[in-house]
Subunit: 500 residues, 2 copies
Amino acid sequence: MDRHGAYSRLEALFRKIGILGDALSVLHWDMSTMMPEGGAASRADQIALLKAMAHELLTGPAVPDLLEAAAAEKLDDWQRANLREMRRDWVHAAALPADLVEAVAQAEAACEMAWRQARPNADYALVLPRLRELLTLVRRQAEAKAAALGVSLYDALLDQYEPDGRSAEIDGVFADLEAFLPGFLAQVLEAQGRRPAPVMPEGPFPAECQRVVGLDFMAALGFDFAHGRLDTSFHPFCGGIPDDVRITTRYDEADFTSAQMGVLHETGHALYDFGLPGAPWRGQPVGRARGMVLHESQSLLMEMQACRSREFTGWAAPRLAKAFGGSGPAWAADNLYRLGIRVEPGFIRVDADEVTYPAHVIIRTRLERALVEGGLDLADLPGAWAEGYRRLLGITPPDDRLGCLQDIHWYGGAWGYFPTYTLGAMAAAQVFQAACRADPGIPAAIGGGDFAPLRAWLRANIHGKGSLLSTRDLLTEATGRPLDATAFKAHLARRYLEEA
Amino acid sequence: MDRHGAYSRLEALFRKIGILGDALSVLHWDMSTMMPEGGAASRADQIALLKAMAHELLTGPAVPDLLEAAAAEKLDDWQRANLREMRRDWVHAAALPADLVEAVAQAEAACEMAWRQARPNADYALVLPRLRELLTLVRRQAEAKAAALGVSLYDALLDQYEPDGRSAEIDGVFADLEAFLPGFLAQVLEAQGRRPAPVMPEGPFPAECQRVVGLDFMAALGFDFAHGRLDTSFHPFCGGIPDDVRITTRYDEADFTSAQMGVLHETGHALYDFGLPGAPWRGQPVGRARGMVLHESQSLLMEMQACRSREFTGWAAPRLAKAFGGSGPAWAADNLYRLGIRVEPGFIRVDADEVTYPAHVIIRTRLERALVEGGLDLADLPGAWAEGYRRLLGITPPDDRLGCLQDIHWYGGAWGYFPTYTLGAMAAAQVFQAACRADPGIPAAIGGGDFAPLRAWLRANIHGKGSLLSTRDLLTEATGRPLDATAFKAHLARRYLEEA
């Protein structure tokens, strides 16, 4: 291979861009976990500068010619896929003039700041002017990208989080779920009501004990502590880079289950990052995770599929009892299992159970699409939000704090992100089903606290592929078909109606 | 003022360079406090790239013309000083070709890695080849900078840490100290031997209690927790940026005094950073601390001058006793005061007392200068080291772990740094003397745990000046004369011989 060819020069350029991205990950992690509030303005400057430098490198004048010349070079499959991903990054970046990038970043920061004040006071009017400015810029961004990609406004935004994700496919899947869920939810609540309610173990549960349990469970799942760590943050997340994965949680001393499930969820994300292709693809676009649908599928596969199972709960229950010094029926595996799968419609997405969660996402997806495409004005958002909850979950939020102010996404500029949560939940079910079909010993191993068989299958079929294939092709190779709701619905029926 | 003039363009450029430096500070702090070992290689890449980008910005082709054009513009005193500091940065950067910068960075990383293995095994031979490579490159660096600055090889290196620092001045001061110390040390040991030995309070001292005491003392000194934090690291340091100052310590559960004094020391550094000029000079070269001599003077002023005093110990003793649940004569203020000023010649610089510390520094300064200038070969370093200790402190290290392998500086590429420690100790004495002369209420206020008067004087006379003046002019304005050993020697005599 010509070491001075166009493709090689692109690899060197994208390596630099990747390293800038790695540095940005550290700055973001620190901002959420360690930074005192007085550091915020300087940190915003650091992040803005590094982002601008990455954008400048990516949109340099030589890049279009290099992309074209590289396409004519002899490349293997991974190189060809890498070139495809480079072009994708370039199209997204080159679509936006630098002043729009800067304006969006500033509007995001200003709107998020206003939102932090507005949310606790349930004061949507306070943030509305800033949100209006931001949405105007987001739409300009969407228009520019839509033209470059040849897709609709909303799909241009979705494509940032889920490459090649398209509303047309999502519409069908969400319509299927929307038709299924209300009737299913009624059945689940009816079945649940016939059983005695599970008992919450009595606390308090000291944060330090919860942390020790979290570390123990992370180790069981296969978290590599030479390449990562667990910390505390207000909004739990998985950050860092594949060599140094940083997950966070938060501790409620009255209820250990939220941190426990949160840690298992973020560990699922972390295992994906750990399992991504190593050298020479680490740091190259093809070495990255495929997109947010698959990323969320890996966290939900661990949290929902593997760790809310009877098998895992059987293994975990005595460990939890021992860690918290508990005993009696509240700590029995069956009770903890029932606690983990309680279903109850509520206002807050991040507190939602597996059955009602898709409704939260469908509402947001419909609303953000209408807002971006112009079918809904921001002034009418609170009303439209309440109407969505009434129709899909039969409840009406008493104020905007429990309504349209609850999530940071829109106020921080993340438009087009929401559908990936529920697509991820569906993919998790489909992937876990395929893994257990390929290795029927997986559930029993999980029952013994042994995740090695599951991890091996995931690494071979999902993690280690990076961005070699599209989400559609990757899922087809791994599970036998593109994403649909079949496995997810079957999983729900089995777990919540106890159908075989 | 012409907003598009050369000076304004330089301000914008240096603001960018400053922000890159801020991001680097966060990456360094994280590396020392949080990063799992598996993140090291990626972190080295991030740091190298950001440094290279800053070097590229600083040595851009337009910079020399802008510096020249700006000198002809109408500027106020601060702008003129800012331009002087910009030129200083540029001279240092432009002296080095980019490939030498890269080679030095790589040699530093390789040598430091070898040193981490060599030190615990007292195996100087293991690190010698790497150290030889590094020193060769450091000398090339020194030659290039010496030519650009018109100074000697050693002074070119010293100038990186102490702008305008020159061996000729240091030689006189160190000769003065060297003549004074051996006789003085004998007197101190003799006087000390006549008194009963102080009693070490009985431990253990739980790390968490030590941390709480540290935070309490930091608050008393004036540390602003909205703009900084305290963490743990193997090598304590003060990092971060003026808006977000990160100090670290380490805890010995058998001896609380090392962390206590370490926290007071680093808080002195932090107060300097907090007190640096705000907007519009924050992030500009003139807004930075003046140099390592003054920086060390501020940490030693707090640790040695203010906090090992009878006044501070009187305030601290009951708080320490309460925090550790101690009582009896070991916790009496006079006993703790005596503990804090014990003198005992030893092999390790960082454990040294105030009286013997200069000997450690003088030995290193002489050796590094001879190594850089060619008068000493690296193969002969262990012998020359032992000879220095024998002559100045009357002790001979049993191995190189307690000898020339103890400090990271040379192995990490920091040549020319050592003299700033003792110059800083002298400056601390001179500055504290001037502060107490200007406001005689300072010692009594410290005795009540009130550092506001001292802090106010320091902010007005040292911290808030940034790099407006040279170290020499700043000290002359603040204390009435340039740096000399008079105040330091008087302080030692008063404290250790109890002379008035």
